[in-house]
């Protein structure tokens, strides 16, 4: 999954499928990197809490919104089989 995404350390993202480019902040880069490396969406909240100084409620809310946003931008859209 996500072979189309080229994400750099400093948060520059190129989506090879759509040709769009993006900037992500630190936590955004962290989450997307986890996804690219195979993390399941359900596991993201815990990973965020492990690495960042954030409470569980905020992490849950922000991960949910971020995942929605990625889908909305087609970044995490799945290829049709």
């Amino acid at each position: 999954m996500y072979e189309n995404l080229a994400l750099s350390e400093n948060g520059f993202l190129f989506d090879g499928r759509t040709g769009a480019t993006y900037s992500l902040n630190k936590s955004g880069t962290f989450l997307l990197k986890q996804l690219i490396e195979g993390a399941r969406p359900e596991a993201l909240k815990e990973k965020l809490i492990e690495s960042f100084d954030v409470d569980e409620a905020t992490a849950a809310r922000d991960v949910e919104q971020f995942l929605f946003r990625l889908k909305d931008l087609r970044v995490t859209e799945e290829d049709e089989a």
Binding site: L13, A20, T21, Y22, S23, L24, N25, K26, S27, G28, F30, L31, L32, L48, E50, S51, F52, D53, V54, T58, D62, V63, F66, R69, L70, D72, L73, V75
Partner: protein, 454 residues
């Protein structure tokens, strides 16, 4: 392992030409204090939204303006334009600095009288002065600026009834090279109507011409327009003098100097593009000095400057109510102050400054007010860092016209506080309650008999 500082995860798409805004060259601005007082403590104590005025800035701007004119011209008198901001405390500061009052209705006239301003220090403008108000003003020696012939006849009639001869002035409109031309007020200079009115006033025998007034518009970015206005008024004064033998005592060039606000359609920010007050002063005074009045007949220069004096002394403190994504992906934010209290948002691109910036990427954001109305937009587009609910923002400059044109619509109007020159914070207008609005209403008994839940 120590954890990294957290910031809400964000992804921003680069759209043509916009990616630039994420470059390092963009300055990130915040405003955490006003005259040394922390914004957050003001909100803690008084709630939000909250209008804040700075007495220090009011006095400072006034003194700058007075200085700019009085250094260049021997007789200068400012009159505070009430409609720009007629909160008592604010008016009192201007009067304390030496300003007279400029009013445009009997309501404003009464406000000035209540503050103890004598009639002869009130300039009475406007296209509608009800007869009793006109009679009172003439009787109290106010500087009445006649707007049209009907009013001239009416003033004459009052003088006859009172058996007196009153000094009056006329408002003059003219081409000063700017648009729109405010020719709906007063008598036209260019077609000779103003001269005609001035002479007609003398021949009636009950009035005589005391001064000439114009107000060429508002937020005028072109100082040269004032040069033209002043020189036309001076020419008119001299012509009247030649024809009647009577010199006039003052020339009033009105208000209209641009404040440091920024019009939506302006490219550069107002802090860069609005001319300094010295440029206006130079234009007006050089025109008057070049007009060649005799040393003993130099008219007093009157000014009715409004927005340029008070705009940047006023701040709106507000808080974030919610963050949103619009269907097209744009970031949006709802704050607790809307166009009901920030009427000037329709014309001006106010600064919207967070009180703190926790870092994170700036993103173009639509800032909405709290009204359930599509038009409630405070800024259609502004770059802001990520903000959380309850984070405070400062909107500026909002000192001119907002606390007079604000609407009692959907929400109640908030408190207004004044930061004194010693840093004291005083409430100068209490927040409205439902009673403030409802106590004027009367319900016919036949409707009040039944209550809603029956």
């Amino acid at each position: 392992m120590t954890k990294q500082a957290y910031e809400k995860p964000t992804i921003i798409k680069h759209t043509g030409g916009l990616a630039n805004k994420f470059g390092r060259g963009i300055s990130r601005r915040t405003l955490s204090r006003i005259d040394g007082i922390p914004v957050t403590s003001l909100i803690e104590e008084h709630g939000s939204p909250l209008f804040v005025f700075s007495e220090h800035r009011i006095r400072q701007r006034y003194r700058e303006a007075y200085r700019a004119f009085s250094l260049r011209y021997p007789k200068v008198q400012f009159s505070w334009s009430y409609k720009t901001n007629y909160l008592d405390a604010i008016c009192r500061i201007y009067h304390d600095e030496g300003s007279w009052a400029e009013v445009v209705s009997e309501m404003e006239y009464e406000m000035a009288r209540r503050l103890g301003i004598p009639g002869d220090k009130i300039l009475f403008n406007g296209p509608y002065k009800p007869k009793p108000a006109l009679a009172r003003a003439l009787d109290e020696g106010a500087k009445v600026h006649l707007d049209h012939y009907e009013e001239l006849y009416q003033a004459e009639q009052i003088a006859k009834e009172h058996g007196k001869k009153y000094p009056v002035s006329i408002r003059v409109n003219m081409d000063t090279g700017i648009h729109p031309r405010w020719d709906r007020f007063g008598f036209n200079y260019d077609n000779g109507e103003a001269l005609d009115a001035a002479l007609r006033l003398h021949t009636g025998g009950h009035l005589y011409l005391d001064g000439l007034h114009c107000h060429i518009g508002t937020f005028i970015l072109e100082p040269d327009a004032y040069r033209q206005a002043a020189s036309k008024l001076a020419a008119l004064a001299k012509e009247v003098r030649n024809k009647t033998g009577m010199p006039i005592s003052y020339i009033d060039v009105g208000g209209g100097f641009a404040s440091r606000s920024t019009l939506h359609e302006q490219y550069a920010p107002g802090t860069d593009s609005s001319p300094p007050i010295d440029d206006y002063a130079e234009a007006v005074t050089s025109a008057l000095l070049e007009a060649g009045f005799g040393a003993d007949e130099m008219p007093t220069l009157m000014l009715e400057t409004g927005r340029a004096l008070i705009d940047d002394a006023g701040f709106m403190l507000t808080r974030v109510v919610g963050n949103k994504r619009l269907a097209d992906g744009r970031r949006a934010m709802v704050i607790d102050a809307g166009v009901n209290v920030l009427f000037t948002s329709f014309w001006y691109r106010h600064d919207v400054l967070p009180v703190i910036d926790r870092g994170g990427m700036l993103e173009e954001t639509v800032v909405y007010g709290p009204l359930c109305m599509n038009i409630d937009i405070v800024r259609p587009s502004v770059h802001l860092p990520p903000l959380e609910v309850d984070d405070a923002l400062v909107i500026r400059p909002v000192g001119a016209y907002n606390v007079t044109q604000w609407m009692q619509f959907i929400r109640l109007r908030p408190k207004v506080v004044l930061i004194g020159t010693e840093g004291q914070v005083d409430l100068i207008r209490e927040a409205e309650t439902v009673d403030t609005i409802k106590h004027l209403e009367k319900t016919p008994p036949r409707l009040s008999a039944r209550s809603a839940d029956e």
